[in-house]
């Protein structure tokens, strides 16, 4: 790796670690100081390495410089010293003795503490995700803006406000207490789930960026698995779900970047290793008596790793969708349940259920009706597809519906 590739690479992998360790050391009030020190460290690296060449161990170099900069900072900021040294220097008499602990274990502990700090209901979910991308994943403001199809200013303001709010509420950066883990973990998992979904279902055309978002969600989820206190069945279930979904990355887009629907995917492109890992973590998730939506969604995703349409597959998926709906209503899940019902009990039965859903205004609903009526009542199918086309907002959706209408008219001529 040459210098022009190395620094962005290290920025991506190391920035977040040093920032987390510094934030963990300094506390929430001094988040910006932590970020400044790390940015400054990378600036020094760029300058020094371009003149003297890349050091033998670039990561160690960064850590040493970050440590020195931290020490200098503390020495030169009297206020900081008075306020903080007492809190942070457990056994150091003088500022000089404060050690920035960049050991593997402390990096992991710091990142875990930061996950729990950032995934706090005090700030909105979208703020949590933005802040997580910025501080825990080393994403730039532009990249976050791209992921959300937003602009730099909006994201910048959002992150700034979120930080202010966390400071205002004096959220502590600390290891989550065992007694409150199950409750707080719920918020953390929701954020990681949404971060992953943002990458997986995003309308953004930037496939690399989308895969990065998913990879980051998986990395943060894995941090939770590595700590015995947060290695709960729900955390394993969510990780399993992510593995199953991620296994289809290669198969779900064509070389031009267009989406390939599940039915049309080449299952040989599904990543077997990730499927195996998904199964492994789903098994690990199957303990205790708390059945979460992640368990159910992971189980559904598991059945989708079987390409063949068997009755067993769809009967299981149907039951899982039933359970998912009982746990939490969602229009998409209601439609998926109906689709699974059609696969097991036939279209006529599914139409009865579909008509009860009353999701007028949703183009997916009319597409589902069109699909169910096809071959049973073709004029009704056509009407439904036309309604879907009218309601769809993106070109991709409209094109997909048009191709269904075309298939239907070919069918009628047979």
């Amino acid at each position: 790796m040459n210098e022009s590739e190395l620094i962005p690479h290290l920025f991506r992998t190391e920035y977040r670690k040093i920032v987390s360790v510094l934030c963990y050391l300094f506390g929430i009030e001094h988040m910006e100081t932590a970020e400044d020190i790390v940015s400054d460290t990378f600036l020094s690296a760029t300058e020094s390495w371009s003149i003297k060449g890349i050091p033998e161990n670039p990561v160690a170099w960064l850590y040493t410089v970050a440590k020195n900069k931290t020490r200098n900072y503390l020495r030169h900021h009297a206020v900081f010293e008075q306020k903080l040294v007492k809190q942070i220097a457990y056994n150091a008499e003088k500022v000089e003795e404060i050690q920035l602990d960049l050991s593997d274990q402390n990096i992991k502990d710091s990142q875990l503490a930061m996950i729990f700090t950032i995934c706090n209901p005090a700030i909105s979910t979208v703020s949590q995700i933005s802040l997580a991308l910025s501080l825990l994943c080393g994403f730039g403001v532009q990249e976050i803006a791209d992921a959300f199809l937003s602009n730099k200013e909006t994201v910048y303001k959002r992150i700034k406000r979120a930080k202010e709010k966390l400071k205002e509420d004096q959220i502590r950066i600390e290891q989550p207490q065992l007694s409150e883990i199950s409750h707080r973990l719920e918020t953390v998992l929701t954020t990681l789930y949404l971060l992953f979904s943002e990458g997986y279902y995003s309308v953004s055309n930037n496939i690399t960026l989308r895969e990065d978002l998913c990879a980051e969600a998986m990395r943060l989820n894995f941090l939770l698995l590595e700590n015995p206190n947060t290695n709960t069945p729900a955390v394993n279930a969510l990780f399993s779900l992510m593995c199953f979904h991620a296994s289809r990355f290669e198969a779900r887009t064509d070389p031009e970047g267009a989406a390939i629907l599940y039915e049309d995917q080449d299952e040989h492109l599904w990543n077997k290793e990730l499927i195996e890992r998904g199964i492994y973590y789903l098994n690990k998730a199957s303990t205790g008596n708390n059945l979460t939506k992640y368990h159910l969604e992971a189980a559904i995703a598991y059945w989708h790793t079987h390409k063949a349409d068997t009755n067993e597959k769809w009967d299981n998926i149907r039951q899982l969708y039933n359970q998912l709906l009982i746990l939490e209503y969602s229009p998409v899940v209601a439609m998926n349940r109906t689709y699974a019902l059609a696969k097991v009990k036939g279209k006529a039965m599914a139409i009865l259920e579909a008509e009860k859903l009353q999701l007028s205004g949703n183009h997916l609903y009319y597409s589902l009706l069109g699909d169910l009526y096809t071959g049973i009542d073709n004029p009704k199918a056509l009407k439904s597809f036309e309604k879907a086309h009218q309601l769809a907002s993106t070109d991709t959706d409209k094109q997909l519906i048009l191709s269904n209408i075309k298939k239907l008219s070919e069918r009628r001529m047979d």
């Binding site: 039933n322 899940v333 009860k356 859903l357």
Partner: protein, 116 residues
């Protein structure tokens, strides 16, 4: 929309009224389908609550008996809260309840909201 209480009752009296394990297995799927159908319409008011099969009954002399089955012919099998427009709709939903196939019945009651 109104809220309705659906209470399922079934006789637990004699052994010939007890369903076989196969019937139970089949019935679990039917219950899931029925609950799923209600939930898919967003008509389930709150998540399902499971109830144990133990039970106590307090009688009028304040005597307590273990399990309702000895003295009360019918026992509550479960209850759910649903949303429906009116009694007609609530009853239509109740007619799909699997307890009917096990010889039970469903009592439907509308929640009364105080006039504002």
């Amino acid at each position: 929309m109104n809220e309705f209480l659906l209470i399922f009752r079934r006789a637990f009296g004699s052994s010939e009224e007890q369903p076989s394990p196969e019937m139970m297995q089949q019935s679990i799927k039917q219950w899931q389908d029925w609950f799923g159908s209600i939930a898919a319409q967003d008509k389930l008011v709150r998540p399902l609550q499971r109830w144990d099969l133990e039970g106590r009954v307090v009688k009028k002399d304040k005597d307590v008996i273990n399990g309702p089955y000895a003295e009360i012919k019918e026992s509550i099998g479960g209850l759910i809260l649903i949303r429906a427009k009116d009694y007609d709709e609530a009853v239509e939903i109740a007619q799909g309840c699997p307890i009917l196939e096990l010889g039970g019945n469903v009592e439907v009651r509308m929640a009364v909201t105080p006039a504002v």
